[in-house]
C-alpha cells in the first residue's frame, strides 16, 4: 500500500537553518494494517506523516502510495483522496457556521448526493463520540476545546479515505472519548480494510490498537516490530523519551526485583494473570 524508499527530508536546504529531519527511512505498510508511529517530539513523526499524502516531498528517495509516486503532480488529486491526514490541533482548521456544514465539507466536495452526505456526517460525528442531533446545528465555535477537536476529526473521517493518517488524534480528549474514538477507528480498520497510521505519544494506545509499531529517533527509524516485541525489550525506550505501557512497566519492575515474569503484557488483564502466577495465595 505504502512504500517508503530511502527517504531523506531536509528542511530549508542551502540556508543556515538547514536541518535533516528524516534520514534514510525505509518502510513498508500493507493494505489494512494499523501502524503506530512513535518517537519523541522532534523525531520526525509529523514530517514523515506529511510525506504520505504529498504535503511534503522527499529531498531524496521516494514515497509510493498505491503505486503512485507522491512527486507525480498528475496524481496529486487522487493521492489526496486516498490519504486522509488529520493534523495536530485540527480545530484550528474549523471555519463553517455549523457542525453539519463543517463535517459535510469533504463529502460534498466529492460530489456525493445529499443522503449519502448526511449518512457520512452522522456516522463520522458518532465515531468521535458526538451526538449528531445535539451538535449538528451548533456553531463549532460554541463547543469546548475537546469537542472542537472531535468535529475537526469527523470532517476527515467523513471522507472515508482508504488510508487514514492521524497525528495525535486523541490528545486533549477525555479518557472515555479517547477510548471510544480509537475503538471506532480500529473497528473501521477491521471491517473496511482501512489502512491506519496513528502517530501517538500514548504507549498504551499503541499497545492496544497497533498491529505494528515504528519508532523514530532523531529522524531515523530506530525500532520496528509488534507492540509485544517493542515493549518486551524495554531497554533504551526510556532514554528514547518513551514510556512503557503501565501493564508492561509493572512487570518490568517486578522482573528487576528478581521475579520470573514475562514483560510483554500489553493489557491490565494480561498483567493481572501474569502477576497471579508468581504471587502466593489468592482465591
Amino acid at each position: 500500500m505504502i512504500t517508503v524508499n530511502n527517504l531523506t527530508h531536509i528542511y530549508a536546504p542551502g540556508t543556515p537553518l538547514e536541518t535533516i529531519s528524516l534520514r534514510n527511512i525505509n518502510l513498508q505498510i500493507s493494505r489494512g494494517e494499523f501502524v503506530a508511529l512513535a518517537g519523541p517530539t522532534g523525531s520526525g513523526k509529523s514530517t514523515l506523516a506529511q510525506h504520505f499524502n504529498g504535503l511534503l516531498l522527499p529531498s531524496a528517495g521516494c514515497v509510493l502510495v498505491n503505486g503512485m509516486d507522491t512527486r507525480d503532480k498528475k496524481k496529486r488529486r487522487e493521492l489526496w483522496r486516498t490519504v486522509g491526514l488529520v493534523f495536530q490541533y485540527p480545530e484550528q482548521q474549523l471555519f463553517e457556521e455549523n457542525v453539519f456544514a463543517e463535517v459535510a465539507f469533504g463529502p460534498r466536495n466529492m460530489g456525493l448526493d445529499r443522503r449519502e452526505v448526511e449518512r457520512r456526517v452522522r456516522r463520522a460525528l458518532e465515531m468521535t463520540g458526538l451526538e449528531y442531533d445535539t451538535v449538528k446545528s451548533m456553531s463549532p465555535f460554541m463547543l469546548s476545546g475537546g469537542q472542537q477537536r472531535r468535529v475537526a476529526l469527523a470532517g476527515i473521517l467523513a471522507v472515508e479515505p482508504p488510508v487514514l493518517v492521524l497525528d495525535e488524534p486523541a490528545a486533549g480528549l477525555d479518557p472515555a472519548g479517547r477510548r471510544h474514538l480509537l475503538e471506532q477507528i480500529k473497528a473501521w480498520q477491521l471491517s473496511r480494510g482501512t489502512t491506519v497510521i496513528l502517530i501517538t505519544h500514548n504507549m498504551e494506545d499503541a499497545a492496544r490498537y497497533a498491529d505494528r509499531m515504528v519508532v523514530l529517533l532523531k529522524g531515523e527509524k530506530w525500532r520496528e516490530g509488534t507492540p509485544r516485541q517493542i515493549f518486551g525489550q524495554p531497554e533504551g525506550l526510556h532514554e528514547a523519551g518513551l514510556d512503557l505501557p503501565l501493564p508492561a512497566g509493572v512487570m518490568f519492575g517486578l522482573k528487576e526485583k528478581g521475579l520470573a515474569v514475562r514483560c510483554d503484557t500489553l493489557t491490565l488483564d494480561e498483567a493481572e494473570q501474569e502477576i497471579k502466577t508468581v504471587l502466593p495465595g489468592g482465591k
Binding site: 476545546g145 486533549g172 477525555d174 498504551e204 518513551l242 519492575g253 517486578l254 493481572e272 508468581v278 504471587l279
Partner: protein
C-alpha cells in the same frame, strides 16, 4: 487564596439553547496547595480556569482572589498578575525570537527597571530548568521545553498561583515528566499554588486535592485516594482509575492483600515484590 461562591456562568446569554457552562460551584483553593481538576470534555474545566483570573466573569455568584473580586474592574490587572495561566498549545503562548526575551515580555510590560527584569528572567529560567536554553529560539525547543518556557514567562510576573489548562496534552512522555516535575518543584519549594487541569489520571496523583467536574457542576472533591475510592461515582462521569490503582484493586478482589494506598506503578511493584517474598 481563591474563594468561589455560587459561581454560575452562561456563555453568550442571548444565543438560544446555550446552557450554563458552570452551575453553582462552591469551593476554596488554598494557598500553597496543588489542586487537580478533571472531568470529561465540555464539563466546564477550561471555563472554570478562565474564571480564576477574571478572563471570564461570573454570570451569577462570585470569585474572590486574595480578597479581590474578579468582577471589580479596578482589580483586574492585579488579579491577572497574581494568577498566571498556561494553555495546552505552547506555540500559541510564545511571542519572542529568543527564549529569555520571551520570559522578559511580561516584566517589560510592567515597566520594571532593567536590573529587576534581568533578575526575574534569570530566576524564572532557573526555576524551570531552562538556563542552558536561554538564548535559543523558542521554536527550536522540544515540546516540554516550550511548555516550561511558557511557565517561565508566567513566573516572571511573580504570581502566587499558576493555572494550567491541559499543559501536557500535546507533549511526549519525556515532556510530560519535565513539566510535572517543574510544577511539583514550584509547588513544594516555592510555595506556588498550582491548579492543574488534566485528562491524565496519573497526573492527578501528584495533587493534594482533586476536583471532578461533570456537566458544569463540581461533583466530587477530595484527596486522590478519596476520589479513587469512589470508583463507581468516577465511572458514572466516564472516568477510570489510573492503571496501577485499577490493577491493585483487581488483585485485592482476587484475594491478594495489596495495600489500599497503592497509587503509582512504583508503589505497586514494591507491594507485589513484598508479597512475592512472603513479607
Amino acid at each position: 487564596m481563591i474563594e468561589i461562591r455560587g459561581l454560575h456562568f452562561v456563555y453568550n446569554q442571548s444565543a438560544a439553547g446555550s446552557g450554563a457552562a458552570l452551575k453553582d460551584i462552591h469551593g476554596d483553593i488554598r494557598r500553597g496547595e496543588f489542586l487537580a481538576v478533571i472531568g470529561p470534555n465540555g464539563s466546564g474545566k477550561s471555563t472554570l480556569a478562565r474564571q480564576l483570573n477574571g478572563l471570564l466573569l461570573p454570570t451569577a455568584g462570585t470569585v474572590k482572589v486574595a480578597g479581590m473580586y474578579t468582577n471589580d474592574p479596578a482589580r483586574c490587572w492585579e488579579i491577572r498578575r497574581r494568577v498566571g495561566m498556561v494553555f495546552q498549545n505552547p506555540d500559541n503562548q510564545l511571542v519572542a525570537a529568543v527564549a529569555e526575551e520571551d520570559v522578559a515580555f511580561g516584566p517589560e510590560n510592567l515597566g520594571l527597571p532593567p536590573p529587576e527584569i534581568r533578575r526575574r528572567v534569570d530566576g524564572a529560567l532557573r526555576l524551570t530548568g531552562l538556563g542552558a536554553q536561554r538564548l535559543q529560539a523558542p521554536h527550536l525547543l522540544s515540546g516540554g521545553q516550550k511548555q516550561r518556557l511558557a511557565i517561565a514567562g508566567v513566573l516572571a510576573m511573580r504570581p502566587c498561583c499558576l493555572v494550567l489548562d491541559e499543559p501536557t496534552a500535546m507533549l511526549d512522555p519525556a515532556g510530560r515528566r519535565e513539566v510535572l516535575q517543574t510544577l511539583r518543584g514550584l509547588n513544594r519549594e516555592e510555595g506556588i499554588t498550582v491548579v492543574l487541569i488534566t485528562h491524565f489520571m496519573e497526573e492527578v496523583l501528584f495533587a493534594h486535592r482533586v476536583w471532578v467536574l461533570s456537566d458544569g457542576r463540581l461533583v466530587m472533591e477530595g484527596t486522590p485516594q478519596d476520589v479513587f475510592d469512589r470508583r463507581e461515582k468516577l465511572q458514572a462521569v466516564n472516568l477510570a482509575l489510573p492503571g496501577a490503582v485499577e490493577l491493585a484493586r483487581r488483585l485485592r478482589n482476587a484475594g491478594y492483600p495489596v495495600p489500599a494506598n497503592v497509587l503509582t506503578a512504583d508503589e505497586l511493584v514494591e507491594a507485589l515484590a513484598g508479597l512475592a517474598a512472603g513479607r
